[in-house]
Subunit: 185 residues, 2 copies
DNA sequence: AACGATACGGAACGACCGCCCCGCTTAGCA
DNA sequence: TGCTAAGCGGGGCGGTCGTTCCGTATCGTT
């Protein structure tokens, strides 16, 4: 399994494809035709398939970095002094990114199969500690599980990515944030 | 524009198609192939097109009733004694229906174009009074608009329709309900 | 019973899209 | 500078799905 180095042009094209895919997926979600990505990268569809066996593989390559970013952020906040604001800071960052990364919910949804599964599992773990610490500190309601949280995020990321109404994203995520706090009773 | 009455078999088939479409859309969302609906109705695709000019028109016919149901419910709760529980009762009912009507978010989303637009406008109106009364009574946070509410509902209906996890739907909607209450501050 | 209008079914068309193939180009090396 | 293998492009294949067309069956009426 000795990896021979890529030829210079191949390496360059691979990079271009990844960049074009990153932008196209972010703008339009998984639905973009692959030919469009190829055109944006200035290569033929055949070249895309030289580097990625399937459209999903390309999506995964992009999503992996995307999800990994979120995981890194979650981990970075994991041992903050105040678990409550760590958790809510994470939410706020996600809300902010929702506008630009329209494929994030798709990435989370495609977890069942293939290469991102690992990253999504990592995400679940990272979210798990963030959530558990928030709950232990009494800053997050106790009856929520990680799958619940992921479902909430998936759904809300999906809608706010669609709607251009000004301020809607902020308000929607404010509702989420407040709804995730312990109920007043 | 004199409407001549349909032939008996035509009328029967139209009914069957509508019933099959209702079930198919509810189960799988707008994505179901039209041929599948036709097969379920025991007719050929051509027959479907005799009654509905396009797949979207069929979807609209089904969605119209679906959305109208929600509108009726919202209106029925509009002049309840307690605006707060009227509002939350509406939410609860929607959460309950979310499992069975997988096409509801699609219906809400397709509002921009065509025949359901009117029904969706009615829904906005009905939601408007429900929301305004809840806010006036101090039972619902004041910084939320009808489009915000629709976005929240659309997103959450979408995810809870996908996930079979037990109890997830209830917890997700509990978060929504609590998040929509006025913040404690 | 027979006729004309109405409706039916499903084969077929065309658009779209993921994916493959193969003749040509180009990088890398001697 | 020439040779070889790596890489490229884009035409094309196959499958899916919405939609149309038309020969046939059926209804409703005379």
């Amino acid at each position: 399994m000795a990896e021979r180095p890529l030829r210079a042009d191949a390496r360059r094209n691979r990079e271009r494809v990844l960049a074009a895919a990153d932008e196209a997926f972010a703008d339009h979600g998984f639905g973009v035709p692959l030919d469009e990505i190829a055109a944006a990268a200035g290569v033929g569809p055949g070249t895309v398939y030289r580097h990625f066996p399937t459209k999903e593989a390309l999506f995964e390559a992009v999503s992996l970095a995307r999800v990994q970013d979120v995981v890194d952020d979650a981990r970075a906040r994991a041992d903050a002094a105040d678990p409550g604001s760590a958790f809510e800071g994470f939410l706020a960052r996600l809300a902010e990114e929702a506008g630009r990364k329209r494929d994030l919910p798709d990435a989370l949804a495609g977890a069942g199969a293939h290469g991102i599964a690992g990253a999504v599992a990592e995400l679940h773990d990272a979210l798990g500690v963030l959530l558990a610490r928030g709950q232990a500190a009494g800053a997050v309601r106790g009856d929520i599980t990680v799958p619940d949280l992921v479902a909430l995020l998936k759904g809300l990321l999906h809608t706010v990515g669609t709607d251009p109404e000004p301020g809607l994203r902020q308000r929607v995520f404010a509702v989420l944030r407040d709804g995730l706090r312990p109920p007043v009773e």
